[in-house]
């Protein structure tokens, strides 16, 4: 498996889910750093280094965990913007959402999402799922070298 050197971007508006996801990943020391954006607009500013992130110096994330239902700009719009940008399109985007509605799932795949995870309602199952997301996406998956 790869060296652990990974900064991830979590795009999530629910405080409880932010905490759960952070804990699930930190517990296994799978991240060096995580940045959190609370809505799609903030995520886009972060990714495109605009507004409050115009001076961001950190490298681009190796993984984006993206909620769908959020205020201002929703997850599907963030996904669309990322996958149509030549620099950002190779960053793996994993949807983490409570929606298991077929139109959402289909749209995300058509836009080129890398994976789609439905948040389990059960706390322990949720933690397990996120742990597996971390094991695969941070330790096993290989991405192109960042520019």
């Amino acid at each position: 498996m790869k060296e652990i050197n990974s900064r991830i971007l979590l795009v999530e508006d629910e405080e409880a889910d932010i905490e759960l996801i952070t804990n699930a990943l930190q517990q296994f020391q799978m991240i060096n750093g995580m940045d959190v954006a609370k809505d799609g607009e903030q995520a886009l500013n972060y990714l495109f280094r605009r507004a409050e992130y115009a001076q961001r110096e950190s490298a681009d994330p190796v993984l984006v965990l993206l909620d769908l239902k959020m205020p201002k700009v929703n997850g599907i719009e963030v996904l669309q913007a990322m996958k149509s940008d030549s620099n950002l399109k190779t960053i793996p985007v994993v949807i983490v959402t409570s929606s298991r509605e077929n139109p959402d799932i289909r749209t995300c795949y058509e836009l080129g999402v890398n994976a789609y995870v439905v948040k389990p309602v059960d706390f322990r199952e949720f933690t397990e799922a996120i742990r597996n997301v971390g094991l695969f996406w941070l330790l096993v998956n290989q991405i192109p070298k960042l520019n």
Partner: protein, 148 residues
């Protein structure tokens, strides 16, 4: 979670097929695994043509795809999947011994979902492939309209 969709394994090396199947059994995955040995057979399977003309309908929940294979290479298979309206949303995970940057870049440029480099070490191979199987067979939700 807990789906039991079919996994399509495209791999020409018999040892790697065996190792992969062993790794996938580790978490008691109940998914059926269909093994094909080259890119041409993979496309026949997906398009239900050639020797797979009579197979039941439905796409796999994930394709584990080797790159270096006789006849049609993995990247060609990936390219054809992504340009076929019936097949283009199927999750494709490249599983290869190539960690060459041009291969990684090209696979992502063609729209691969994920890229796994086969570790040389036996135990690490089992770990990598079993976690790959667990994520793609159980945690990931595939596009709608696939075979149950």
């Amino acid at each position: 979670m807990a789906q039991n969709g079919r996994i399509l394994l495209v791999e020409d090396d018999e040892n790697d097929v065996e190792l992969t199947l062993t790794a996938l059994e580790r978490f008691n995955l109940r998914n059926e695994v269909v093994v094909v040995n080259n890119g041409e057979e993979a496309l026949d399977y997906l398009r239900r043509s050639g020797i797979f003309k009579l197979r039941a309908e439905g796409n796999p929940v994930v394709i584990l795809l080797d790159l270096k294979m006789p006849k049609v290479s993995g990247l060609d298979v990936l390219r054809q999947i992504r340009s076929d309206t019936e097949l283009k949303t199927i999750p494709v995970v490249v599983v290869t011994s190539s960690r060459e940057e041009p291969d990684v870049k090209q696979a992502y440029a063609l729209g691969v979902n994920a890229y796994v480099v086969k570790p040389m070490d036996f135990q690490q191979f089992l770990d990598a492939v079993s976690h790959t199987g667990l994520f793609w067979a159980i945690v990931n939700v595939p596009p709608p309209g696939l075979a149950p």
